[in-house]
Structures are given as structure tokens and as C-alpha cells.
Symmetry: C2
Subunit: 711 residues, 2 copies
């Protein structure tokens, strides 16, 4: 019962009794296929076909109505036409079934949101959960439940697949059979009207049979919850994501295909990285990684050794190691003593270790056993080019044996072999035996790279989120007054006040209503100063001649005041002029941009990037979901290509990176503390040398009255 | 005879008579394998085994000495131990054989350059060419010549492979058999002591049986000639290159493996792009592209249409199209009228066209025939997800038929099918039939992308190289004096003089030896000005207090002069001070960097990039081999991520892009006109608005006395 409680969806994956509404004797119908697949798959619970046509289906009694069934029902599959679904859900809720999978399509994916929402509401009132609609069903290895209408003969195993695309999901099941990849579960998510990825992850985290989770995603709805679940999951087991809609046009196609907003792929990508999710660009890569991670041990340390019989592919593998972030083992003495005995003089014991084209199976056995036995080497990349001397018959046994040795030593190894028919045959055979072999260098190294990314993420300590001390009350007051004023953006002075309330440094400034005040203010602030017109009628201050820079003394201030007032009066005689603003002329520093937005999919998201004019051009920005720990925020700053500017280039001092981290966290906290703020950006944020702090030179804050959403 | 003349290596690929020095009766020996492979491969010319042990090999008379053979010999394979090779080459040159392939290893690849150079010299004196040493031989389809020691049963076809790696080459032959990819030729290049890629390309350009050329390269020696040959070749047929050593560590490994300097991969990459070469990162991609380009027609126009039965993979393909630069056909009216009849209401006639999971073979036939027949659509990407409704038996016939239709219409099509055993079987069958089918979306789209890159490059008109008018005489004078002075870099003033001689704008400047001169000079130049100390004893001018900025009038000039002299005297009392330099204080502009270097592999190479501090940090630079046309140079500027800065962002005016192009071409011309210059860089080059020109603010020129190389 305690496990039941911690896994609210246990009854979905491992139901006691399963009813099929719309069951059919017609073999071509979905309502038949599901009953058949449940039966043939050896489902451990009871199966209850429901159909107005009574009698038997595949030897099982048919019930006219689900409410007639006396036993408790944990799971129902609805496969009646869309017009009948609402009534079916109603009957299920009367019967108090726990989970309903709705196969039928024709709901929100074609714009029919109303019926979908009603089904969810009805189910919710009875405490039932809905999977779908618009799905092909699901499979669970633990309960031998195959409630799909398509796939037969799914192999049980340790990979769980969650897919938003039905067509691709069915095709993926086929692919798992080809690859001999066993599944612990596959779930078709469809329209995600109720159950989504986060719910399923909650079950899979604790599911002992699931070692790796693979998800195909097109769009995310409740992103904040998904983030929380991913964060927990990836500390336990690897999660691989394929998300389509990476390109602009692809995102449009995805939106029109799923009926949901696709959101920014950059943000999605950053958040997946933050959560330790392994994102694959292609189906092949996702399958390769899933299989590799399900069969290979985790690396115990950071380095790897490449063993090859061909210099060329050794170099290709070295390139791939850099691409996929794998460090090569580098102790030349150990390499020489370990690999020397099997390496001819024209080979190389440097890593990549080239045992040359003359290497026989025995040489490979010796060479590949070394890293398994070594106390220092953590993983192995084994490469083979077909040669005239190596008898291909010996290839598979050699690989099998050295793989076993690595398994015994609890170390990962990836093999790549390039050659003709006999090599390919050996590879195909070994793949079926779940030995990690590949026909090209890059996929092998890419798999090991995925293992390392997972390993490194898991190793990172979990740190508490930062809760900076900001004056939330004052911020909300400012925003309230802006909304009361009917505006959706803050004036510069208001933006600065928000910064001050959050403890983010801004240049000193003040407003003067006449020339005397201006001089007094200037004298109290110190020089150099900037003067700007304050008038809600003048939007483009420079065009109006309303800005003066570099004011160095009281004379400059007086001249500037007169000139600005004169310019603005002639620019727009009817303008109401409230005075001038005097501000400290800030030193340049390194200009970066930091921001926070409320993402439609993921909620509060912070960003930073190379600032000024470069943010648009170089697009050197990184994103993270908020809240954040200090280290996570550091990671986001370090990720910038322009990070060396903050470290100090050309002999410059290191900049106040801690200050940048603090500013990012404070922006996130402001957003969290005031739900009317939708978008904030400091651009530029001038960053000075360490301990000299930083200054928010320009602040833009957008707000929205949440009440407006409802009108 | 005329063809013979235009293809100096015809006798290598299609020799009349072939002798094997080191022929053997021992089946395990290379000298046996080569004779056997020539014989079994059905070589069209005569075969002459040469060995001190007389008698017969495989029924053929053995000659004790090549000089005993009465017939003319076009080609010899030497496979005696390395110690005997020199004598064998001597005998060959006496016999005046035309081509010698030296299988034997143990020469420059292990540091034995002397013997290798001597063999080349001997051969050269007799007009013979050498292939190798350290190779596995070669194959030519036209002459049915298999002179490799490893591969039997190579299929003739239309792909030519040139490989610097022997091990990988042999493995690649195996792979071609698996893929059923026919070869027109495969040549093992080994140490490239004489014959290199450029020589072989010269033959392959005109070789009618070769449609596609694939090269595996580790390092380039005579790059300038390779560039010239590539430029000619890629206007005729696609060239695919795999080059290892992309990463820093990979480059080191390649250098130690081949004994040659690897050179900068960035430069290699840029030049390959410039020459229209398709660079593949993986063996799989290279093979996929080679096969696709050898079996599919070229596209006749820029757009493509995606047809799918699954929305998910449709979106993945759309993403891949953006990645690989494929434009999607976009006329909604035509799409609707063409695909409407086979697209259900819940599908989509927008591109990607989703004919939905219910699509049967007939629907696919109709949908995939449409682009073939259309006057507007130029190519097709056909996707299939295995479904329960589509009978897999119909898959292969449908694909065959629609592929034929595309061939008949002279349009390319790429298929990707995801599914289980029966789908994979159909794919394997079709692959053997040379139908372009793939098991994942990305490789299919990547192939079509390669076809488009080739198509677009071929379409670009060939333009004349720019020959800018520069004063080469003056530049050489300046450099001569620097070398005479024993220096290897130019002083700032000398660099400016070179710029002036080339017609590149520099800030006005002059040198003053006393305070009076300084004031006169300043008054004649106008303000604002910068003043700098001129002293060869003071390297770091700012540290010495030897720089003054923002001089706005004669008073400023006088004060600055006194201050600088005072500072420098106290900084280094013994410094010999020649005076001060006064220079115009140039406006900021967009700062870029342009340069020209003499690359060890490729000769004159020019570069440009985002300048100032950003060039190191953002590494936003592009390279080209020089000489260049205006359009090629524009392409190199446009390639920069920071190019929008030159176009003008945030309402700024377009900058003088033509001036940048001109400056790059002039730097290349300077390098070409003076062989003592090794390295030039203008950083920053301030670029102003169009027609306001640009200014070289800082010029760095390195020189080297070419005579020093010989000592």
C-alpha cells in the first residue's frame, strides 16, 4: 500500500482488471485488436470486453455496459467513435474506474477542445485519470499488459518509451524489435488532456525494471511540473529526449500538427540540459543511447582509452571524443607498459593506441583486457578496420569476451567495426545479443559521450535554491501603480526603483524641475553626468535633442539644461515637460544582458548573454528554469561563448562574475514575487572588476494585469 | 592519343601491361595476392610476375628481372621488403616503366624520408611516376584492374575512392560491397611521395565512368595544386571529403600517425567549402552521400516537398531541412490541389504534407507521383512510419515505382522508413537495388542536402579573380629594408606605408622630433589627435605613459608632448627616443579584423572576422584560399555570424562592405606580391558607413627571409 501511495499511477501500469469499451469480434477493428493484444501478451489481470453486442470475444464474456461488471476495474480502454466517448467516460466515472485510456481521436488535435475538457472534468470528479485521447495505447512489462491496438510481441526489458506521436510510437516499437531492445513500458501520450510526461515519470522513477527512459516530445504544456519530475528522475536514471520543432518552420509544423504552442526551442534545449536530460537530434542516436545505457555499466571516472588497428579511424575517434566531451587517458608510461607488448614499433602506444593492421584476435584480447583490468582507465573505445590478416570469424568471439570482461569490471566499452559482409554479419549478431557494437566510429563514441554526460550530471551535488533577500512588497506596489495607471511597461525611473528594491545596483540619478534644482542635484551627485528630458510626450529623446552627455561641472549642467529645454520646446511646442533627469555617467565595463521571462510552457525562465548590440547579432545567450542554485547559475554564465570576457582577456582583471550570478537570481526572484511581471531585461548590465560590482544601465520591465487574461 | 595527353595518369588507371616485382607462389604473401587479384579481377592487359625464383605463378611465366620483359610495361607493383625497394625502382626506371606502385612500408611514415626521396628522384629521372609507398594498391573499373593485395570481387560502378589510410581503405572496400556501391576506382595514396590527390583528380575529372569522388584525407602537402584541381573537379562532379584531425588532439594524433603536419582544420574546412567540396563528418554520411549522388538525378531547382504518414517525423524532417539548407515548397494552393485528394481532413496539405497513418500504398503512389510530375516541385522527401493498416509487403513495390517516376522525371527523392523487421527487410532489399532508402529521417535529408549544396555550387558563375592595383615595387622595397635590418616584423609606420602602397586607407599620421614640429604637424593634420612615443627601446607604450589620447588643440599637444617625454625618460632613462608620432583619432566604426597568411599546406590564405577583443573570444572568423573573385570574397564576409553588424543593426546605415571585400583582396595581393611576407593582420579595421570607407587602425606584418629556410 505504501508503494501504491508513492506511485499514484501504479494502477495504470499494473491494473488488476482491464475493461475494453468498444470491444469487437471484427478482427479488423481496434476494439478487437486491443482485447487480442491483452490476451496474447499474457496480461496478468482480468480482461472485460464491453460492447452492446453481447456474447463472447476470443472466449471471453462480453458485457453490455461497464456498470454491469461486478469486479473493480482499474483500467479501461475506450475505442468507440468520438461522438460516444463522452457517454463512455460518464459510465466509467459512475463505475469509479481508476484509469481510462481513450484511443479515439477527433478532440483537441482537431480543435475540439470542449468535449476533451468535459471528459477530463467528469473523470476528475470521480477520481479517475485519463490517458489520451488520440493514442495507440500502452504497454507495461511488469504486468505483461499490451493495450495497444498495433504491436504484438513486444519484448520485455529495461527501456521505457513515452511518445507524443502515435505514428512514430508504433514505428518505434517495431524498431525495438529489430534492435532487440527490451521495453519496460511504452506509453502513447496523445493529446495529454490529463496524464502527461511528468505523471508517467513519477511512476518510472521508482519502477525497478526501468533503467532508461526515452521520450518523444512535440510540445510541453505543464512545464514547471515536468521540470521538477525530470530533476528527480535524472538523478536516478538517464532520460533521453527527442523533441521535434527545433527549426522555425519545424516549430510551426509541430504547432499545427499538435494544436499546441511549440515554444522556444532554445529555452527547451537549455532547460533539458539544466535537468540533466540527454537530448538526441535523431531517432538513431536516441535508440543507440537508450540501448547502450541500458546494457553498459556507468563509467567510474572521467577518462577513456581508444584501441584501434587503423590510424585513420583512431584519429576520427579522437575527433569524436572531443565533440562528445570524452577525456582521453594520458599517462604515457602506463600506456606504454600496458599496450607495448601488443604494439609493433610502427604502431603507437599513445592514446589512441594503434596496435596496427597486423593485430590478430589475441592481440585485441590482450589490448582490450588492459583497460578492463586497469585501476586508472575508466572506459574503452574499441575500433576495428577489416584487414586481410584478421580472420573475421574471430571477431565476434573476441568482442564478446572483451565485453564480458568490461562488464565484470563494471566499465563501459563501445565497439566500432568497419568492413564488409562478414564484419556486418558479426555486428548484426552481436547487436542482437545486446553487445554495444556499431558500424561507424561516431555513434560508438556518441553513446559513450551520453554515458559520460549522465555520469557527470549525477555526480554534481544537489544544492539548495537561492532565496535572495528582495523587497517584494515595494516591487508589488510599484507594479500595482503601473497597472492602475493602465500601462503595460515601467518607466525608466520605476524600473530603477524595482532594481533598488531587489538590491541590484543602478547608476545614481534624480529629477530636477528647474535649472537651480538641476545644479544643486548635480553638485550633490558628482560628475560626470548625463542629462535627459523627462516628458511623456517625447518618446525619442535623442531625436528631440533631449539628451546631453559628459557634463563635467556646474557650467556644463546649466548650458545643457537650457539647450535641452530649448530643443524640446521647438521639437514639440505642446509637450508637457516635467523636468530633466540627471544620472551618473557609468563607466563602460563588460556589457552583458540578463533577463527573466514567464515562459508559456516552463514558467519562470532567466537568461543571460553577451550584451549591447551583440545579443541580437551573435545570439550568445543561455537560459535556465528558475529557481536556481548558485552553481547552476554559474553554469549558465560559463556556458556563454563570450564567458572569457568576464574572466578578463588580454591581461584584464577578472570581472565581478559573482555579481552577475546574483543579478540573474534576483531577476528570477522578482518575477516569482510578482505574478504581474511577464518580462524583464537589463541591457546593458555593465560588469566591472571583481569587487567593483556592476550597474544596470537600462532596465525594461513589462507587466500584464492577470485579470485581463480572463476577458 | 589526345585523350592520353589530357590525362597523364591514364597509364596508371588503364595500363597495357602490369608487372609485379616480388611476385610469389606462397598464397599468404602479398606478392601472390596481387597477381591473383589482377588475374581473378579479369585485368584486361598483360600480367608479368617478377621474382628471382623462376617458374610459373598461377600459370603465368615468372621473370627473374623486370628488364628481361620484352613488352613495354605501363605499371609495376613493388612488394619486396623495404631494403630492396630502391634497387627495384632503379630497375624499373631502366626499363622505363611509366608507373610504379610501391606497396612496401617503412619509409617516411616511420621517419625514413631519405630512401623515399631517392626512389622518387630515380623514378623522375626516367619519367616514371610513383604511387605510395605504404599502400594496399588500387582498383580501376574501366581496365578491370585490381592491384590490391586484399580485396577480391570489387563491384564496378561510378564512385571513385581516394584514401590516405590503408586500413580504412580496405575496410571501405568491404563497406561498398555491403552497400552494393559500385566503384569506378579506388586508390591507396599512402605516403604520397609523388602522386597525390590532385594528380588523381586530374584523371577522374574526365573519367566518364566516375560520377562521384570520395576522399579520405589526413594531411595535405601540395595544397595549392589540390585547390586548383578541386575547383575544376567540383564544377563537373561531386567531391566528398572525410578529413580526420578536426579536434586539437585528433590533429596531433594524425600528425604522429602520418608524419605530416596536420595544419589548421578551420582553414581546411573553409577552403573545402570554397571549392564546393562536400565535407562529411562521419564515414556513414560520406557513404550515404556518395551513393545517393551516384544514383539520384541532380535537383533542377531549389525547393523540396515532404510527404509523410506521421506528423512527428514530418516535423523532424522539417527541422533537418533547415539544418541541411533545403527550402520547402510553399505554394499552398498547388499543395492543396495536388495533395488534397489523398489527405484526410485531419491530415495536412501544407508542406510537410501529412497524408496520415491511414494512408495505403495507393495513397503514397498518388502523393509521391505528384512532385515527380509537377512543374514546380524540384525534389521529394518521402517518409513512412510503420502502421497497422499499411501492409508492409506493399512498401517496397510502392517505393520502387515512385523512385522510377522520379528518375524518369529527372528529380531526386530520398526515402526514410521507420519500423520493425518487415520494414527493415524491405529497406535492406531496396538499398541493394540502389534505391535511396534510409532507416532514419536525418540521413535521408542530409543526402538531399548534399545534392543541393553541389547543385548550388555548380550554378554559381565562374568569375575572374580580382587583380587589384597595388604598388608591389614599393611594398618589396619596404620589406627588403626590414629584412636588411635583421627584423622579422614591420614597425607601425612601415605597416602603414605598406597599406598606403596597396591603397588601403589608414589614419593620417606623422612623426615629430621636437615640440615645435609636433605643434606644426598637429595644426596641419587637424584634431582630435593621438600622440605616441617613438622609441625602439620602449615596447609597451602605455606602461611607459607614452600615449596621449583626445588631443583637441595646440595646448593639448604641447602638454601631451612634455608629459610623454617626461614619463618615458623616467620609465627608462637610457631609452633612445626618436620623437613622437601624431595620428588622427579615427572614429569608431564597426571593428573587424582582416588578415592574410601563408599556410603550410595551402599557400596564401586570407581571413576576416569580428574584430577587436571579440576575435579571440567569439572566434567568428572565415578563411579563403587566395586568389579570389569579388563574389567569393563577399561570401566569406557574409559567412560571419556578425555579418549583420556590417549590414547595420538597430536602424544603422549599411556599412562599407565593398571596402571590406577590397581590403581582403588587397591583403591577399600583397602576400602574393612579396614572398617574404608570412603573416599580415589589420586589427581593428574600422568600417564606416557605405561610401565613407574604412581605416586600418592597427597593422601587423611579419616577414621571413626565405634564405633562412635553407640553413
Amino acid at each position: 500500500m505504501s508503494r501504491e501511495k508513492s506511485n499514484p499511477l501504479k494502477s495504470l501500469f499494473e491494473p488488476g482488471n482491464f475493461a475494453v469499451i468498444g470491444a469487437s469480434r471484427d478482427e479488423k477493428k481496434i476494439g478487437h485488436a486491443i482485447v487480442r493484444n491483452l490476451l496474447k501478451g499474457g496480461f496478468k489481470g482480468g480482461i472485460y470486453p464491453v460492447s452492446p453486442k453481447s456474447g463472447e470475444i476470443l472466449g471471453m464474456k462480453v458485457y453490455a455496459d461497464i456498470r454491469e461488471i461486478e469486479d473493480e476495474i482499474d483500467m479501461v480502454s475506450i475505442c468507440v467513435p468520438s461522438g460516444l466517448c463522452l457517454e463512455a467516460v460518464r459510465q466509467c466515472s459512475e463505475k469509479r474506474v481508476r484509469n481510462i485510456q481513450i484511443i479515439t481521436s477527433g478532440f483537441s488535435e482537431v480543435g475540439n477542445n470542449r468535449d476533451e475538457e468535459e471528459m477530463v472534468a467528469i473523470a476528475k470528479s470521480a477520481g479517475s485519470r485519463i490517458l489520451g485521447p488520440n493514442i495507440f495505447g500502452m504497454y507495461c512489462g511488469a504486468s505483461s499488459m499490451n493495450s495497444t491496438f498495433s504491436a504484438t510481441g513486444i519484448n520485455p526489458g529495461s527501456v521505457a518509451i513515452l511518445t507524443q506521436s502515435g505514428a512514430l510510437g508504433i514505428a518505434m516499437i517495431g524498431k525495438t524489435a529489430v534492435e532487440n531492445m527490451g521495453l519496460s513500458a511504452i506509453v502513447s501520450l496523445g493529446n495529454k488532456s490529463d496524464i502527461d510526461e511528468a505523471d508517467l515519470l513519477e511512476y518510472l522513477i521508482d519502477d525497478a525494471s526501468t533503467r532508461v527512459i526515452m521520450m518523444y516530445i512535440e510540445g510541453v504544456k505543464k512545464g514547471e511540473r515536468l521540470i521538477r519530475m525530470l530533476k528527480r528522475t535524472t538523478k536516478e536514471k538517464p532520460v533521453i529526449v527527442i523533441k521535434s520543432g527545433k527549426s522555425k518552420r519545424g516549430a510551426m509544423a509541430a504547432a499545427s500538427h499538435t494544436g499546441s504552442l511549440a515554444g522556444s526551442d532554445r529555452i527547451f534545449d537549455s532547460i533539458m540540459k539544466q535537468m540533466g536530460v540527454l537530448r538526441a537530434d535523431t531517432l538513431e542516436a536516441a535508440f543507440d543511447w537508450a540501448k547502450f545505457l541500458s546494457i553498459c555499466p556507468e563509467p567510474g571516472g572521467d577518462n577513456s582509452v581508444i584501441v584501434t588497428n587503423g590510424g585513420g579511424i583512431g584519429v576520427l575517434a579522437t575527433d569524436a571524443c572531443e565533440k562528445f566531451g570524452i577525456d582521453l587517458y594520458d599517462n604515457q608510461d602506463v600506456l606504454k607498459s600496458v599496450f607495448g607488448p601488443v604494439t609493433p614499433s610502427f604502431g603507437s602506444t599513445k592514446n589512441p593506441v594503434d596496435i596496427t593492421g597486423g593485430a590478430m584476435a589475441g592481440d585485441y584480447r590482450t589490448a582490450l583486457s588492459a583497460p578492463a583490468l586497469s585501476g586508472e582507465m575508466n572506459s574503452t573505445i574499441a575500433l576495428y578496420c577489416e584487414t586481410a590478416t584478421f580472420d573475421s570469424e574471430n571477431l565476434a568471439p573476441m568482442i564478446r569476451e572483451t565485453f564480458e570482461r568490461h562488464l565484470a569490471a563494471n566499465k563501459p566499452i563501445a565497439y566500432a567495426a568497419v568492413g564488409g559482409e562478414s564484419v556486418e554479419k558479426a555486428m548484426a549478431l552481436l547487436r542482437r545479443e545486446n553487445v554495444p557494437v556499431f558500424s561507424d566510429v561516431e555513434p560508438a563514441v556518441s553513446c559513450l559521450g551520453a554515458a559520460y554526460r549522465f555520469y557527470r550530471y549525477r555526480k554534481e551535488p544537489i544544492e539548495p535554491y537561492c532565496k535572495p533577500d528582495i523587497n517584494a512588497g515595494r516591487i508589488n506596489e510599484i507594479v500595482d501603480s503601473v497597472i492602475a495607471d493602465g500601462r503595460n511597461s515601467l518607466l525608466a525611473a520605476e524600473g530603477r526603483e524595482v532594481m533598488i528594491a531587489a538590491g541590484i545596483n543602478v547608476p545614481k540619478s534624480g529629477i530636477a524641475k528647474n535649472i537651480g534644482d538641476a545644479v544643486d542635484l548635480a553638485e550633490s551627485m558628482g560628475y560626470p553626468l548625463v542629462m535627459k528630458i523627462v516628458s511623456r510626450d517625447i518618446l525619442h529623446k535623442s531625436d528631440a535633442g533631449g539628451i546631453a552627455l559628459d557634463l563635467e561641472n556646474r557650467d556644463d549642467v546649466m548650458h545643457a539644461y537650457e539647450a535641452i529645454i530649448h530643443n524640446c520646446r521647438s521639437y514639440r511646442p505642446d509637450a508637457s515637460i516635467e523636468g530633466v533627469e540627471l544620472a551618473e555617467m557609468a563607466q563602460k565595463g563588460v556589457e552583458i544582458v540578463v533577463g527573466a521571462i514567464r515562459d508559456a510552457s516552463f514558467g519562470p525562465v532567466v537568461m543571460c548573454g553577451l550584451g549591447g548590440i551583440y545579443v541580437e547579432v551573435m545570439k550568445d545567450v543561455s537560459f535556465r528554469s528558475f529557481p536556481l542554485s548558485v552553481n547552476e547559475t554559474m553554469g549558465m554564465v560559463r556556458e556563454l561563448r563570450s564567458f572569457p570576457l568576464l574572466l578578463g582577456v588580454r591581461g584584464e582583471q577578472r570581472k565581478d562574475i559573482e555579481g552577475v550570478v546574483d543579478a540573474i537570481i534576483k531577476l528570477g526572484a522578482i518575477l516569482k514575487s510578482c505574478d504581474r511581471i511577464t518580462d524583464m531585461e537589463i541591457n546593458p548590465l555593465a560588469v566591472y572588476e571583481q569587487n567593483s560590482g556592476l550597474k544596470a544601465l537600462d532596465v525594461r520591465i513589462l507587466v500584464k494585469n492577470p485579470k485581463e487574461d480572463r476577458t
